[in-house]
Symmetry: C2
Subunit: 337 residues, 2 copies
């Protein structure tokens, strides 16, 4: 069966200039897929004509003239941009023409549109954004990263169920270790919502390992880390800021002296390897979980290679049938009540 | 006038083995101070006898036999350890024998004891922990880092007042730029408490620059960043985790090949410089603000150099008279209501 993915070509900082090459890269790697390139047909046709590829027949343009700006409010995007590339891309999933959608656009708008068009799975109050973070020992799936700013204990529990199912499927782990992000590992630590969520998790059949702290995000101690979107968003952006800070000082130190410049030259391949391994975006492609369909959010600044990762993530979720797995796990949990 | 500081010698991972040498280092650098070394007299006398210093006459042991464990609950520490080194050190400040206290011990216990013994300044509901974080462009004071886990808008506002006064005094900035940590820079972003705190800050005479995001912590965009302790604690620990992760991968990459080992040797001084500049603990010494007295918390894993930094921070706060400055600013703000 040919899998079909819809790409919002107008999202992100670079738009079709990086997204179309990423699409053709994916077509070359996967002969069993077709891609619906959603955006302004005339402009896209021109960019596609510039791609010398034997796979152009599997790239289909779906015309959509509106563009949602990166700083547009979700409600304005939802109300007044009914023919935006993002909306039309999500609709391809709703209408069964695509099995997943990938966008590098405005996160709030993508969340609002996906929720409105695709609807939530039964038993899930709100969607959550989940991404993979590299760690010292393996890597960790963390959610929510900002879909919500005030989640209660029940919602944190739902995030744990969704994160557990996603991780189990994509990592082939039968029972992923779930940690709840808190200010300390002891039971009496934290605010009411994490304490209540801990009780729900302890009572469940999930592999709950207890509270984890901020430093555990990068240790690989848990397979899944659950937190409120307010905390998750700030932690993820702080990590990006700290990575930039390291890069800034590394570059500055090597540039400072002639000796430094010489050393930089000989250590270049090693420094490149370090940067590649420690780039928090090397697993680009965050999942919007809890929807009746697969939507993957790429980082807004994603280049070709990075956006291609997001396409891979979407493909993997299609092959693993993530929404159905989450729905069936929830049904199982709810029927036990 | 001779300034006097009380040091809890039994706090932290290393106790007196690192804290006593740090104390003597501070005595050598500051001829106008004396240090009250609080802990078990017999053991401390032995360690002090091993320090060949002309300054031993300015180091006075204050006997205290109990020790608060790093994982002890604040309430147990408060109730059952009335002669602990931490409690006695804080009491030196209360009784006017010291102008400040420094401890590397259990943060929750230090907070509870300081609040109980010293009491809060009028107009402040709860203490806040404030530390300095190095940035690409200068550095930033951030609070609260975990004294509280559920601060409301009024409390966030009080943190802003305290952070502004501290930063103004120690950095000699007349009107420090205050940012409120949030998931986006737009006014409609965030949870209710940050939106309400933003209104209070906008209405005040503080130099409020609006919402800042996680990545701004390391950019130096704001002089003071205000957040709830739940978020602040997790962000700070995540940064420590990410720094460890970078170090781990840097070391691993350089060790992988003979070529890497050679390059590591020539780049050693540069790598050391980078590590020094990017170490989030290089400004060790977090202030417990809002109390009627100066209490500085050192990182638990602090070594001699690092603990000496915390002593420097305490000295600076004594010289700048931080609690009195905060109290007078609050009185000014409250009288305007």
């Amino acid at each position: 069966m040919t899998l079909s993915l819809a790409l919002d070509t107008m999202g992100g900082d670079h738009g079709p200039d990086e997204i179309i090459p990423a699409a053709f890269f994916a077509l070359e790697n996967h002969h069993d897929i077709e891609l619906l390139l959603v955006g302004p047909k005339t402009a896209l046709d021109k960019i596609i004509a510039g791609q010398s590829s034997a796979h152009a027949s599997r790239a289909k343009v779906v015309n959509a003239l509106d563009v949602i700006e990166m700083d547009e409010s979700p409600s304005s995007a939802l109300r007044s941009k009914k023919r935006s590339s993002m909306r039309v891309a999500v609709e391809q999933v709703k209408e069964g023409r695509a099995q997943a959608c990938v966008s590098a656009g405005n996160t709030g708008a993508l969340m609002a549109i996906s929720k409105y068009v695709l609807k939530m799975l039964p038993g899930i109050d709100r969607p959550a954004i989940c991404t993979t973070i590299p760690g010292i020992d393996g890597h960790t799936h963390i959610l929510d990263l900002g879909a919500n700013v005030d989640s209660n204990a029940e919602q944190l529990f739902q995030f744990a169920v969704m994160g557990s199912e996603l991780t189990s499927a994509v990592e082939n782990i039968s029972s992923p270790k779930i940690g709840l992000l808190n200010v300390g590992a002891e039971e009496n630590k934290g605010n009411d919502r994490v304490k209540q969520a801990a009780l729900l998790l302890s009572d469940s059949h999930l592999n709950y390992i207890g509270f984890v702290e901020g430093n555990d995000i990068y240790s690989g101690k848990a397979d899944v880390i659950v937190c409120d979107g307010f905390v998750g968003n700030i932690v993820l952006k702080a990590s990006e800021g700290l990575a930039e800070f390291f890069t800034h000082h590394t570059t500055a130190e090597f540039r400072k002296t002639m000796y430094g410049k010489l050393v930089a030259t000989v250590s270049l391949p090693i420094l490149k390897n370090i940067r590649r391994k420690t780039d928090p975006r090397r697993y680009n492609g965050a999942s919007l979980l809890g929807l009746r369909g697969i939507v993957v959010k790429s980082h807004g600044s994603a280049d070709k290679v990075s956006f291609a990762h997001a396409i891979e993530e979407a493909l993997l979720e299609v092959k693993k049938n993530i929404p159905a797995r989450i729905a069936s796990r929830l049904e199982e949990l709810l029927s036990k009540d």
